[in-house]
C-alpha cells in the first residue's frame, strides 16, 4: 500500500460504474493473479460447462490439460464454489459397497493424494482414517460385505472390533446411550480436505489455461436442433456451443427440465454445523449410521458435524433447529464429553438424490448434452475423478469406462447400482 490515503464513501458512490469497469479490465489479462474474470460472454464456445462448483471447474481443468480443449466457458449462476462445493463436510473415502463405486472412488483418491502438488495449492489433504460404527448385527454384516469388496479391489479397509475402535478413538463411549458399538469398518486412508482450496485450485488452473469462468450467469434455456444441443440461453445473453456439460448438483432437475430430460433425481436439503475450535483430540472421521451422525475435526480444530438428509424435497438450503438438537443428542451418545462444547454455526446444502445412491454420469439421449449429477451426499470426494472422467467423456463423446455403469439409462434397464448401504449416513 502506498502513502496513507483517506477513503470516504461520499467520493466513491458517484463514480461507481467506472470504478467497476476499470477494476475489471485492469485484471482481465493479468495471469499471475489467482482468479482472473473475463469481462463478458463470447458468442460461442466449443464446450459450455454449466455449474462453477468443484466438479465443473475440475472438468474444465482436465479438458484443457488432458485434451487440449480451451475454448471452454464455465457458467455459474452465483459465485464459484458457493454451492455444495462450499457446503459439504469435506470427507474423502473409497470404502463403498459396489465394485463399480469402489473402483471410481479408488481412482479419485489416487488423484487426491497428488492434488496439492498438481494444482500448486494447499488443499490440506489430511489422511485421518475413517470409522463407520456398527451398533447392530445388520450393520455389522454390511461392514463385512464392504470390507470384502474393498479388499478385493485393493482398497485398505477392514472390519474391526470394539477394542480396536476404542484404541483408535479413545474418547468414544462404546456403550453409546444404549446402542453399544459392536464394531466398525476401518478405512485408514479416509481423509478430510479444505473444500474452498479445491475449487480455487481448479478454477485458477483452468483460468490460466484460457478457460473462461463467468459468475452470476444463470442458464435459462437450451437450443436443441434434431436432438442435438447447439446453444445455451443465459441471463447474460445467448451462446452457441458444440457440447454442454451439466454439473450443477442440487440444481440438476431445474436444468434438465429445461430440456424435458427425465431423471430420477429428487432434491433434499442436507445440513451440517461446526463447533468452536478445540485443540485436536479427534483424529479419525467417525460415522454412525444408526445414530444418523458423523464428525471430524478439521485443520482449524473445529468439529465438522453432519447428519442424515432432511426427510422431504426442498430446493432451499435452509437450516432447522431440530437438526442441531438431534445431532447434539447423537453426538453426546457418542462423545459424552462434548456436553459443554458449543456449536458456532449451522448451514445446509441441496443434495440431488438418486434411487440407488449412485451418481448419474455420461452422455444422455440428447446429443452433445452430458450429465454429471446425482451426487447426493457423496460428491466432494469424487471431484477429481468426475472432472477427469467427464472431461474424457465430453472430449471423446463416449463414456469413460469407469463411469459407464453410472449411465442415466440404467434405470429404465432395471440395472441399478445399490450403494445405499454405503453411501448415506441415514442408511
Amino acid at each position: 500500500m502506498s502513502a496513507p490515503a483517506i477513503w470516504s464513501l461520499a467520493k466513491s458512490s458517484g463514480n461507481s460504474v467506472e470504478t467497476r469497469e476499470r477494476s475489471r479490465c485492469s485484471r482481465v489479462d493479468n495471469t499471475d493473479v489467482a482468479l482472473s474474470w473475463p469481462r463478458r460472454l463470447k458468442k460461442s464456445y466449443d464446450v459450455v460447462i454449466v455449474g462453477g462448483g468443484g466438479h465443473g471447474l475440475a472438468a474444465a481443468h482436465y479438458l484443457a490439460r488432458d485434451h487440449g480443449l480451451t475454448d471452454v466457458a464455465v457458467l455459474e449462476a452465483g459465485i464459484i464454489g458457493r454451492g455444495n462445493s462450499g457446503r459439504n463436510t469435506a470427507i474423502v473415502r473409497s470404502n463403498y459397497l459396489t465394485p463399480e463405486g469402489v473402483r471410481l472412488y479408488r481412482e479419485s483418491m489416487k488423484l487426491w493424494r497428488e492434488l496439492s502438488a498438481a494444482l500448486d495449492i494447499n488443499v490440506f489433504y489430511s489422511e485421518r482414517g475413517h470409522l463407520t460404527l456398527a451398533h447392530t448385527e445388520g450393520t455389522l454384516r454390511t461392514m463385512r460385505w464392504r470390507a470384502g469388496v474393498n479388499q478385493e479391489l485393493g482398497v485398505d479397509s477392514e472390519l474391526i472390533g470394539p477394542s480396536d475402535v476404542a484404541r483408535l478413538c479413545p474418547k468414544l463411549d462404546l456403550a453409546c446411550g444404549g446402542m453399544p458399538i459392536l464394531g466398525a469398518l476401518y478405512h485408514p486412508p479416509g481423509a478430510v480436505a479444505a473444500h474452498d482450496a479445491v475449487v480455487w485450485g481448479y478454477a485458477r488452473a483452468a483460468m490460466r489455461a484460457g478457460v473462461e469462468v463467468h459468475q452470476n450467469t444463470r442458464v435459462q434455456g437450451f437450443d436443441v436442433r434434431e436432438g442435438r444441443v447447439v446453444g445455451v440461453q443465459t441471463s447474460e445473453g445467448h451462446v452457441s456451443a458444440n457440447r454442454v456439460l451439466c454439473a450443477v448438483a442440487g440444481s440438476t432437475p431445474r436444468i434438465t427440465s429445461l430440456l424435458g430430460l427425465g431423471t430420477p433425481i429428487v432434491v433434499h436439503p442436507l445440513q451440517a454445523c461446526i463447533s468452536e475450535p478445540m485443540h485436536p483430540w479427534l483424529d479419525p472421521i467417525v460415522v454412525s449410521a444408526s445414530l444418523h451422525a458423523y464428525v471430524s475435526q478439521d485443520a482449524r480444530g473445529t468439529l465438522v458435524m453432519g447428519a442424515a438428509l432432511d426427510g422431504y424435497e426442498l430446493h432451499q438450503p435452509r437450516s432447522t433447529f431440530d437438526f442441531m438438537e438431534e445431532l447434539s443428542s447423537a453426538m453426546l451418545d457418542l462423545f459424552p464429553l462434548l456436553g459443554r462444547v458449543r456449536i458456532v454455526r449451522q448451514w445446509a446444502g441441496m443434495a440431488d438424490m438418486t434411487p440407488d445412491f449412485s451418481p448419474i454420469m455420461g452422455p444422455t439421449s440428447i446429443d452433445g448434452f452430458f450429465l454429471d449429477a446425482g451426487w447426493g451426499t457423496w460428491g466432494f470426494k469424487a471431484t477429481p475423478i468426475s472432472g477427469k472422467t467427464m472431461a474424457h467423456t465430453v472430449a471423446t463423446g463416449t463414456a469413460h469406462p469407469l463411469i459407464e455403469p453410472f449411465r442415466l439409462s440404467r434405470f429404465v434397464d432395471y440395472a441399478l447400482i445399490g450403494e445405499k448401504a454405503a453411501a448415506s449416513v441415514g442408511h
Binding site: M1, S2, P4, I6, W7, L9, S12, S13, N15, T19, R20, R27, A34, L35, G78, G81, R82, P99, S116, A117, I121, N122, S126, E127, E137, G138, R144, W145, E152, G177, A194, D196, R204, S275, E276, M278, P280, Q316, P317, S319, T320, F321, M324, L327, S328, M331, L332, L337, G339, R340, V341, R342, I343, V344, R345, Q346, D356, Y414, G418, A421
Partner: protein, 1146 residues
C-alpha cells in the same frame, strides 16, 4: 499507559446499572485476585480493576482489551467472551494462550491461501506433514473433562414474541398487549432499556414504559435470554440461564437495534479503543469509567451525550474529532502496549493527543442477523431492514432506521399493532395478506436507514498496516486488498478467503466495513457489495442445552419380564429389546444348539410379539390385499392362512408375512418386525388411491404373539385349549378360539419347520398365556427359544429372511420366491415391473449351500462369493446346523453357476478361501412332512373374538402420595376399559347402544364421571370407560379393544410437565383429544377439566410402557411430584365408573 485511580464512578452517573454495588465478589485473573460486583461482565470487572490487557489476539498476538471480542479462559467453562459473560465468584480466568499463533504464520489458522512460494512446499513433504504439524497447535480450548448435565427443554408459545428489550421493543410489547395479545419480550442483557439510558429524555420515557410493563398482566419478560434464530413458521428457540425454550409465536417483532462499526485506522485494536456503545455500557451499566483521558471520534454528531457524561463522571475530555473533516489517523501504544495517544489529522494539521481511551462513533449497521435469517435469502446485499421481514416476522426501532426516542417508541407501537393484526389470520392466508399493497408504505425503511449506511467515518489506510477490520480473525485492511487484487472480489469469496466474519462472534460489524472496502475497490456501489448471510445460531450454544434430556424410545413385548428373569441375552432390533438366547451355560453356542434341538425333538415356545400385526376389515379387504401383495387372497376361505409377499412398484422384495382370513370381510396379516409401520402406512395409502372401503387397524402393540413349535406342541396346546378340537386343525388353518380363558387367534404355520402353532392373544393376557403354556409343557421339557435359535431353525428349512437374504435390489425371482407371485392377477402394485424383470436374463440366484470340513465354521454372513474375476456374490445366511451337524447357508451366486451339486468359492479373508457345494433347500425335512403333519380334521366354528383382561397392575407399583398428587401426580389408569369402533356403520353401532354420537372431531363427549365418547376419525370413535356392551353385532362396525397404557396426570405443575412432554400446546382446561408425539412416541392427550387440580390423560402403545412411564415419572419427580396411588387421585375426585375392562367382561 494505565491510570491506577479507581475507574468505578459514583452511582448517580450510572442510572439503570446492572451491577449490585451492595455486594462484591472475588475472582482471579492471571493469578491475581480481583474484586467485582454481582452483575459485572468479565470485561467491566477487569476494566474497573485497572486491567487493560485481556489477552493477545489469536493470530497476530496483538494485546487486546475491552470491546475487542476477546476470549478468556475460565477453568470450568473454557473459552468465554469477556465482554458478555457475567463474572461469578471464584472464577479463575487466564489469558487464552494459543501457542500456535505466534510460532507459525497466521495463514494456517486463517485457512487456506494460494501460492506455493508463500505457503505450500511440495518438495518438503507436501501438505500432509505440514498440516499434521500445524494441527498440534490449533484450537481455543481442550475437550472438557466432565460431561455437564443435559438440561431439560420446554416448549412454549405466545401470540407475539418481541426480541430486544430496548425502548422500541418495550413499546412494541405494550402495544401488542393493548391489542389483547399474550406477549413475551426477550432481552439478551440483564435488564430492559437498551441504549435509551444514554439520554435524559430516553431515561424519562423508559421509566414510564417500565412502570406500564410492571402492570401488564399479559406480558412476560425474559432477561438474560437470547433468541437463537428465526426458523420455519416463527419457531424461535430461546437460550436462557436455565437452558432452551422451544418458543413458537403467531408473530415475531424484531427490535434488535444496531451495531456500532469499529473505526478503521492504524492500531485501531489497542486496549482503550472502543465504540460509543461499549463506552455507554461501561459507564451507564457497570459504572466504570472508560478512561481518565478520553478522545471522542464522532461521525454522526451523536457523541455529545457520551462526551458530557464522561466529563461529568470525571474523565478529562482531551479532544473531539469530527469526521470527515478530521480523522484519527493512528493510535499509539505506550510501553505497556495499551493506548497512550492518537494522531489526529485534518486537511491542514496533524497533531498527537495523549489519552487512555478513544471512544469512536464511526457509524452503525443494523443488527440484522435474525432478520436476514428469517428472510431466507441466499446471499444478502448490504441494505436497510424493512419493517416486514418475512411472513409473520416484523422489524422496528433503530433496526429499521428510527433515530429519536419518540420515533422508536411510536414505530414500535405501530409495527406491533400491524403484527398482532396480521397474526390473527390463518397461517395459510398469511403469505398473501402481507403482500397487500396497503402495506408497502408501512414497511419501507426510513430515509434515515438508507442514509445511515453512508454516514460512516472514513476508513483510514496506513502504509505499515495494523488497520483491523475483523478482530476475531485478525483480518487487516491490507489482507482484504490483497484478496480483492487476487480476484476474490465478491463478499462470499472474500470472507471464505480471508475468514472474515468466520470467528467466534461472527463479527457482526466487520461485514459492513468489508462491504465498504469492496464497494470502493471493486463494485463501487455499497448496495451492490454483497455480504455473506449470518448463519444461525446468533450466539454459540452448548450441545448439552441443544440435546436436552436424552430420550431413547424402547419397545418391549408383554413377555419381557419373563425373558430378563430367565437369563435371556437381549438384542436391540429397531426399537425392540428381544431375547437373543436364554443362557444356561457358559457356552453360548451350545445354548443356541440346545434350543434348536428342543424344537426339533420336543417343544419350544418363541416370543414373536414383535411381528407387525394388521387387521384389514370391510367389504374391499380382499381386493386391497390382492392389490398390495403378490399373491392371491380373494379366493381364500375363512379359517385359512397364506404366505404373503410384498414387492414395491419396482418389483423389489420389501416385506413378507402371513395373511389369515378370519371372515369374509376380515383379514389378519403379519409383517416383519421392522416393516409394520411402513406396511400399515402404505396399505392405507393404497386404500385411498383405489378408493376402497376398508378399515385398517395396526394391532402390533395390542396383541402378544408366541410360536409354540415342536413334535410335542400339539399335546401341550391341548392342555390349555378350551376347545380340544382346535389343536387338530390342518396345516395353514387360522382359528379364533379360547386358550385358558383367553380369546386367541391360532395360525398353524411352520416357519421353523416343525408342527407349530402361532398364538396371538391380547397384550395384557400375553404373559399369563405364555406362562400357562410353559406350565402345560413342563413334563414335555418345553423351553423358551431365542431369536438366534429361531433363525437357525428357519435356515435349516431354507426360509428367506427379508432384509438379510434379500437386498435393496432383489426381485422374488432372485431369491426363489417366484412361486409367491400370481401373475394371473390382472393388476397389483408390482405386477408390471415383475413382468419386465422376469423376462430379463437372470443374473444371480440365491442358493442353499453346504461346507464340509473345518473351514465351514469360519464362514460368516456377508463373506464374498468370488471367482477369478473378483466378487460375484455373497453369503447371506450361515450357521453350524445343530440338527444336521454341518455348515449350511444361503448365498447369492451367478445365475449361470447355480446348479445343484456345483461348487463355488467363499472368501474367508485376505488369504483364505473355501469351497461350498450348492445344496437343495430345505436342508431339513425337504418334504415339509413334519410341519404339515396332517392331524385328524375337525372344522370349528369361528367364534367371535372378544377380549378378557387379567388384572395385572402397572409395572410401577403405585404408592400413596396425596400431597404429590396436588403438585404433580402420575397414576396408571391402563386398567380402565376402552375400545374403538370403526367402519361405515360405526355410528349406527353407537346409536344402537344409546351413547352420544359426536360429530366434531377429537372432542370428548362425557358419558359419566370419567367416561367419554370421541370421534377420532372419519368413521372411527373412541369409547373410554363405558359400561355398555358393544359386541359388534352390527355388520360393518368393527370393534377393537385398546390395549394402550394410559396415565392420569394431575396437579399444579402439570403445565410444566406437558410443556416438556410434547411440542403441541395442550390446555388441561379443555376436554379435547390431541393426537401427537409424546416423548417421540405416537400418543393421545386429553385435557381433563372439572377437577380440584389441573389434570390430563395420556394414552400410548403398551410396548412403550417402561420407556414412557419411567421418563414421565423422572420428569414429574424433578417438578416435585411422582407416582401416586388410586386413593390419592380419588381423594382429588377422580373416580372411574368401571374397572372391569369396559364392555369386554369375561
Amino acid at each position: 499507559m494505565t491510570f491506577l485511580m479507581s475507574s468505578r464512578v459514583p452511582p448517580e452517573h450510572a442510572p439503570f446499572e446492572w451491577i449490585d454495588r451492595s455486594r462484591t465478589l472475588a475472582f482471579r485473573f492471571e493469578g491475581r485476585t480481583l474484586q467485582a460486583h454481582p452483575g459485572d461482565s468479565i470485561a467491566s470487572a477487569l476494566w474497573a480493576a485497572g486491567e487493560r490487557i485481556f489477552g493477545q489476539s489469536l493470530k497476530k498476538r496483538r494485546p487486546r482489551g475491552v470491546d475487542a471480542g476477546m476470549l478468556v479462559r475460565d477453568g470450568a467453562l473454557g473459552a468465554v467472551p469477556a465482554d458478555d459473560t457475567v463474572v461469578t465468584a471464584g472464577m479463575d480466568l487466564r489469558f487464552l494462550r494459543d501457542p500456535f499463533a505466534h510460532s507459525l504464520p497466521g495463514w494456517v489458522a486463517a485457512g487456506t491461501k494460494l501460492g506455493p512460494d508463500r505457503y505450500y512446499d511440495a518438495k518438503n513433504g507436501g501438505d500432509l506433514r505440514h498440516e499434521y504439524a500445524v494441527r498440534q497447535w490449533v484450537g481455543l480450548t481442550e475437550l472438557p473433562t466432565t460431561k455437564g448435565a443435559q438440561a431439560a427443554k420446554r416448549n412454549a408459545t405466545d401470540d407475539v414474541l418481541v426480541v430486544g428489550g430496548g425502548i422500541s421493543g418495550i413499546a412494541a410489547a405494550l402495544a401488542a398487549c393493548a391489542r389483547g395479545a399474550r406477549v413475551t419480550l426477550v432481552e439478551q442483557s440483564a435488564t430492559l432499556g437498551g441504549r435509551a439510558v444514554a439520554s435524559a429524555d430516553g431515561r424519562a420515557r423508559l421509566l414510564e414504559l417500565l412502570r406500564e410493563t410492571a402492570d401488564c398482566r399479559t406480558l412476560s419478560v425474559r432477561t438474560d435470554t437470547t433468541a437463537l434464530g428465526i426458523y420455519d413458521d416463527r419457531f424461535v428457540p430461546l437460550l436462557g440461564p436455565e437452558g432452551i425454550t422451544r418458543f413458537r409465536a403467531r408473530a415475531v417483532v424484531l427490535a434488535t437495534g444496531r451495531v456500532e462499526l469499529p473505526a478503521i485506522f492504524r492500531n485501531n485494536d489497542l486496549p482503550g479503543v472502543m465504540t460509543i456503545a461499549s463506552a455507554e455500557r461501561l459507564l451507564f451499566r457497570y459504572g466504570v469509567r472508560p478512561g481518565a483521558r478520553v478522545v471522542v471520534m464522532d461521525s454522526s454528531k451523536s457523541s455529545a451525550l457520551i462526551a458530557n457524561a464522561l466529563a461529568a463522571a470525571g474523565s478529562e475530555l482531551s479532544a473531539v474529532v469530527e469526521t470527515p473533516g478530521s480523522v484519527v489517523e493512528e493510535a499509539l501504544a505506550g510501553d505497556d502496549g495499551t493506548l497512550a495517544a492518537v494522531v489526529i489529522r485534518s486537511a491542514t494539521v496533524r497533531s498527537r493527543v495523549a489519552c487512555d481511551a478513544l471512544v469512536v462513533s464511526a457509524g452503525s449497521s443494523p443488527n440484522d442477523a435474525l432478520a436476514l435469517g428469517a428472510r431466507r435469502t441466499r446471499e444478502a446485499v448490504f441494505e436497510p431492514v424493512s419493517r416486514l421481514v418475512a411472513s409473520g416476522v416484523w422489524a422496528t426501532g433503530s433496526l429499521v432506521g428510527c433515530s429519536s426516542v419518540d420515533e422508536r417508541i411510536a414505530d414500535g407501537a405501530r409495527v406491533a399493532e400491524l403484527a398482532t393484526e396480521r397474526s390473527s389470520t390463518p397461517s395459510g392466508a398469511r403469505e398473501s395478506v402481507v403482500r397487500g399493497p396497503d402495506l408497502d408504505a408501512e414497511v419501507t425503511p426510513t430515509v434515515m436507514a438508507r442514509a445511515a449506511l453512508l454516514e460512516c467515518a472514513p476508513i483510514v489506510a496506513h502504509s505499515e498496516g495494523g488497520c483491523f477490520v475483523d478482530l476475531d480473525e485478525d483480518v487487516e485492511l491490507g489482507d482484504l486488498e490483497v484478496a480483492i487484487a487476487e480476484g476474490f472480489d465478491v463478499s462470499a469469496l472474500l470472507s471464505a478467503y480471508t475468514k472474515l466474519g468466520r470467528g467466534f462472534s461472527q463479527s457482526k460489524a466487520s461485514h459492513a466495513q468489508a462491504a465498504r472496502v469492496l464497494s470502493e475497490k471493486s463494485h463501487g456501489l455499497l448496495a451492490r457489495a454483497g455480504r455473506p448471510l449470518p448463519r444461525p445460531p446468533v450466539r454459540p450454544v452448548a450441545m448439552r442445552f441443544l440435546a436436552g434430556r436424552s430420550l431413547h424410545p424402547r419397545r418391549r413385548t408383554p413377555m419381557h419380564a419373563f425373558h430378563v428373569g430367565n437369563g435371556a441375552e437381549l438384542l436391540i432390533a429397531d426399537d425392540w429389546e428381544r431375547p437373543a438366547v436364554y443362557r444356561r451355560s457358559n457356552d453360548r453356542q451350545s445354548d443356541v444348539g440346545a434350543e434348536v434341538r428342543t424344537v426339533r425333538t420336543g417343544v419350544g415356545i418363541i416370543d414373536v410379539g414383535t411381528l407387525g400385526k394388521l387387521e384389514i376389515a370391510g367389504p374391499d379387504a380382499a381386493r386391497l390385499l390382492d392389490h398390495v401383495y403378490t399373491g392371491r387372497f380373494s379366493d381364500m376361505s375363512a379359517g385359512t392362512c397364506r404366505y404373503a409377499l410384498l414387492c414395491d412398484e419396482s418389483g423389489t422384495v420389501v416385506d413378507d408375512g402371513v395373511a389369515a382370513r378370519l371372515a369374509a370381510d376380515r383379514f389378519y396379516v403379519t409383517t416383519t418386525t421392522s416393516a409394520s409401520a411402513v406396511v400399515y402406512r402404505e396399505m392405507s395409502r393404497w386404500a385411498l388411491e383405489l378408493g376402497l372401503e376398508v378399515v385398517l387397524t395396526n394391532l402390533t402393540g395390542a396383541i402378544a404373539a408366541m410360536n409354540l413349535a415342536g413334535p410335542s406342541s400339539r399335546a401341550v396346546l391341548a392342555r390349555v385349549a378350551d376347545d380340544a378340537a382346535v389343536v387338530d386343525c390342518p396345516y395353514l388353518a387360522a382359528r379364533e378360539t379360547m386358550l385358558a380363558g383367553v380369546p386367541s387367534r391360532l395360525l398353524r404355520v411352520g416357519f421353523v419347520g416343525e408342527l407349530g402353532y402361532e398364538l396371538h392373544v391380547p397384550a395384557d393376557a400375553g404373559l399369563r398365556t405364555w406362562q400357562r403354556l410353559l406350565d402345560a409343557g413342563h413334563d414335555a421339557d418345553i423351553r423358551p427359544i431365542g431369536v438366534e435359535a429361531q433363525r437357525a431353525l428357519r435356515l435349516e428349512k431354507g426360509h428367506v429372511i427379508v432384509g438379510q437374504d434379500t437386498d435393496a435390489l432383489s426381485s422374488p425371482y432372485d431369491v426363489g420366491l417366484g412361486w409367491a407371485v400370481k401373475m394371473q392377477k390382472p393388476s397389483f402394485v408390482s405386477r408390471r415391473s415383475l413382468a419386465i424383470r422376469k423376462a430379463r436374463p437372470k443374473e444371480r440366484a440365491l442358493v442353499g449351500f453346504v461346507v464340509e470340513g473345518q473351514d465351514g465354521k469360519d464362514v460368516r454372513e456377508c463373506h464374498l462369493v468370488v471367482d477369478e474375476t473378483g466378487p460375484v456374490g455373497r453369503v447371506t445366511s450361515v450357521i453350524q446346523s445343530p440338527t444336521l451337524g454341518k455348515t449350511i447357508g444361503l448365498a447369492f451366486v451367478p445365475a449361470g453357476a447355480a446348479h445343484p451339486g456345483a461348487s463355488f468359492t467363499i472368501r474367508l479373508d485376505r488369504e483364505r478361501r473355501t469351497l461350498a457345494r450348492i445344496a437343495p433347500t430345505p436342508f431339513y425335512d425337504p418334504e415339509g412332512a413334519r410341519q404339515r403333519l396332517d392331524l385328524a380334521m375337525s372344522m370349528v366354528e369361528n367364534s367371535r373374538w372378544t377380549v378378557t383382561r387379567d388384572r395385572v397392575d402397572g409395572d410401577v407399583a403405585a404408592q400413596p402420595g396425596h400431597a404429590r398428587a396436588e403438585i404433580l401426580g402420575v397414576h396408571d389408569v391402563s386398567r380402565i376399559g376402552r375400545y374403538v369402533v370403526k367402519g361405515p356403520f360405526a355410528r349406527a353401532a353407537l346409536a344402537s347402544v344409546g351413547t352420544p354420537v359426536p360429530d366434531a372431531f377429537f372432542e370428548a363427549a362425557p358419558c359419566g364421571p370419567w367416561a367419554f365418547v370421541a370421534r377420532t376419525g372419519r368413521t372411527e370413535f373412541w369409547l373410554e370407560d363405558l359400561g355398555v356392551k358393544l359386541d359388534g353385532a352390527i355388520a360393518g362396525a368393527y370393534v377393537y379393544d385398546r390395549q394402550d397404557v394410559s396415565l392420569l396426570l394431575t396437579g399444579s405443575r402439570l403445565p410444566d410437565l406437558l410443556a416438556e412432554m410434547t411440542a403441541t400446546p395442550v390446555d388441561p382446561g379443555v376436554p379435547r383429544l390431541h393426537l401427537t408425539d409424546v416423548l417421540r412416541v405416537s400418543s393421545m392427550i386429553l385435557g381433563r377439566p372439572g377437577y380440584a387440580v389441573p389434570a390430563a390423560q395420556v394414552w400410548f402403545d403398551a410396548t412403550y410402557r417402561m420407556y414412557v412411564t419411567n421418563t414421565v415419572t423422572a420428569m414429574a419427580m424433578e417438578l416435585g411430584g411422582g407416582w401416586v396411588s388410586n386413593d390419592a387421585v380419588s381423594a382429588l375426585g377422580f373416580h372411574f365408573s368401571d374397572q372391569s375392562g369396559g364392555n369386554h367382561g369375561s
